[in-house]
């Protein structure tokens, strides 16, 4: 089907991926360098019977997305750093209420307004730690326009499977560049499990087993559930004074993601190119393009995760133990902190490269040589 091969911007491919994944609701607020996603959604959604709404800010955008998800519709928003910061309270609400939703963050340079039109990977830790409290999310990082399409679909799928907010942690490099993309039609689309319509649900929010994902009693189907961001018991009712309820609830919210770390990594995939070398390069997202090129020249091993969160320390250990590891990021050091936990910190090195562009392959090679020699 030649008509499904396109030459698109990463942001456009992301919007197409969302629609292929079944997204029928988008609420957003424009922000560079993510705006093209909203723009394409505003054009495409009405074509497929979906709704685009531009909200008054990012807080409202994620709220509306969560509302739409409880109305039973797959929903997404897209933003960049400043908007992502504003969404943090609702990231936590989505985690607490186990609402599937997808948040795209096309990273630009920060802190603050920073470099609005330039690339960065400095919201990597924020994606996991940006909201208060104990929670976990899923975050995937694309390196190509094709992956902007594919990983958006994966975000929806994991979000629906686990009832967690999923973050497409993109960056301006992949968001703005154009490449060939195959808009596959045969994509696997996962839909949240629903209870039977009209069924009264005894325990919509069971506390156990500790990694359980309960079916989602979306609104308007007669379940008459109460959904709250307060600590809640199995019935969904506020139970803010009971330490055991809180402990079990947050443990389940975290474990349903943590315990599936390997499964997510295996299913989404990663690049591991093993070469005869003491040196392994690690990179992700737009920056990985440089690193793959440099590694080839260096004859070094490369690990390119697509799953950023949950971090799988065992997998990283398994793959990279014994190497001198150079992590290359467009920031002053974020993913590297997780790698340091997994490996012997002394063997882990960082090429932190903020400034708006990925380092050139030459820059990476120079750094690799410095470490090795």
């Amino acid at each position: 089907m030649s008509e499904k091969v396109e030459f698109l911007q990463g942001n456009e491919a992301c919007a197409e991926g969302a629609i292929a994944a079944g997204c029928r609701f988008f609420a957003g607020y424009p922000i560079t360098p993510s705006t093209e996603i909203a723009e394409r959604m505003s054009e495409r959604l009405p074509e497929v019977g979906g709704v685009y709404v531009q909200m008054e800010d990012e807080i409202a955008s994620l709220a509306a997305v969560i509302g739409a998800s409880w109305a039973g519709v797959k929903a997404m928003t897209a933003t960049a750093g400043p908007g992502f910061s504003l969404m943090q309270e609702h990231m936590g609400f989505a985690a607490m209420t186990e609402t599937p939703c997808v948040i795209v963050n096309v990273q630009r340079g920060g802190p603050s307004t920073g470099q609005p039109t330039k690339a960065s990977q400095s919201d990597v830790m924020q994606a996991r730690w940006g909201s208060h409290g104990d929670y976990e999310i899923v975050a995937l990082s694309p390196s190509t326009v094709q992956e902007m399409y594919d990983l958006t679909i994966e975000c929806f799928n994991w979000s629906e499977r686990l009832r967690v907010p999923a973050v497409l942690l993109a960056d301006e490099v992949v968001g703005h560049m154009r490449e060939r993309v195959v808009l596959r039609e045969d994509v696997e689309v996962v839909d949240r499990e629903l209870p039977e319509e009209g069924e009264e649900i005894e325990e919509p929010f069971p506390l156990e087993p500790d990694d359980h994902v309960p079916p989602m009693p979306v609104f308007g189907r007669g379940h008459r559930v109460h959904v709250t961001g307060l600590t809640h018991d199995e019935r969904g009712y506020p139970a803010t004074d009971d330490p055991e309820v809180h402990r079990k609830l947050v443990r389940r919210l975290c474990n349903k993601v943590r315990k599936r770390a390997r499964e997510i990594h295996e299913s989404v995939g990663y690049d591991f190119i093993e070469r005869e070398s003491d040196l392994a390069l690690v990179a992700y997202g737009g920056c990985a393009r440089t690193v793959l090129e440099a590694a080839e020249e260096l004859g070094a091993t490369v690990f390119r995760p697509k799953v950023i969160h949950p971090f799988d320390a065992d997998l990283v250990r398994k793959l990279l133990d014994g190497y001198e590891v150079l992590v290359v990021e467009m920031n002053l050091g974020q993913y590297v902190e997780m790698v340091e936990r997994a490996l012997d910190a002394e063997c882990v090195h960082l090429l932190g490269h903020p400034g708006g562009y990925p380092p050139t392959p030459e820059r990476v090679i120079k750094e690799a040589e410095r470490i090795q020699g």
Partner: protein, 268 residues
């Protein structure tokens, strides 16, 4: 339908203090809803309550309908998603003066502007009750609260003026001393297509009355009765229907567009 079927009795008695105006609002709301369900005008399985955080925002948790207890100040934004994603839902937002008008002011005015088809019932008890009685954007100038020990230096909002300024087509103000009229107002709000706002002047005996020389819930209701009027009387707060216009609700405009664009296959 008997209103009793709408109460989550296993959660009663509720957490509200003795004489709290939010209780009266709950009372009136479930009866109005039961009547609407009885009349067949609304379907309880398609009726959704949304609230933020505050004592007033706890009400939906006692009503046996689908309900979303969200974050402080944002219920209207969540409601926007619910309503637009599934326009079959009747969406009612129960909120407080803090929730709707302090942190949530922006969502309130934008929903009013869009003419989002929801009913907003705002329990306006002059303070932040839940957090223990701090001043709020509707606290009268000079009033005492835990954060205005020397009297409140800020002038308050007139919430009805505010939402009308933002474009709301249907706006009423009542008090908990007027439960019958309030019930009628909720009926009207549920009937209107588009954005309906009911400002319910209410009492927080625990955290407002005591600090402002009203020692009992009854004194507070007395004050509400004495100081409000359905006519324009000097020195009195105007209650009643303040605006009642018709404008096409937002979701209709959105779905007309969707139908136009998607053509018959998808939207028809």
């Amino acid at each position: 339908m008997d209103w009793r079927e709408l109460i989550r009795w296993e959660r009663m008695p509720h957490i509200l203090c003795p004489g709290c105006g939010n209780g009266t609002i709950l009372n009136v709301l479930v009866r109005a809803l039961a009547e609407k369900f009885e009349e067949g005008e609304l379907d309880p399985d398609k009726t959704v309550l949304v609230s933020g955080i505050g004592c007033s925002s706890r009400l939906p948790g006692y009503v046996k309908l689908d309900s979303l207890h969200t974050t402080h100040g944002r219920p209207i934004a969540f409601a926007t998603g619910l309503k637009l994603a599934n326009p079959e839902l009747e969406v009612i937002v129960v909120t407080g003066n803090g929730d709707a008008a302090a942190i949530g002011g922006n969502h309130l005015i934008h929903a009013a502007r869009r003419n989002l088809d929801i009913t907003v019932i705002c329990s306006n008890n002059y303070v932040y009750g839940m957090t223990g009685g701090q001043a709020s954007p509707t606290t009268p100038q000079g009033a005492k609260s835990t954060t205005t020990p020397y009297g409140n230096p800020e002038p308050p909002f007139d919430l009805c003026e505010l939402v009308m300024g933002a474009g709301a087509p249907h706006v009423e103000r009542w008090t908990t001393a007027h439960p019958h009229q309030l019930k009628q107002a909720i009926h009207r709000a549920l009937e209107r297509e588009g954005f309906s706002f009911i400002d319910v002047l209410s009492q927080c005996p625990t955290n407002y009355g005591r600090r402002n020389d009203m020692r009992s819930p009854r004194e507070m209701l007395e004050w509400l009765r004495e100081n409000t009027s359905t006519e324009d009387e000097p020195g009195k707060i105007r209650i009643g229907v303040l605006r009642d216009e018709e404008r096409k609700p937002f979701h209709e405009r959105v779905y007309e567009l969707v139908e136009e664009v998607s053509g018959d296959e998808e939207g028809g």
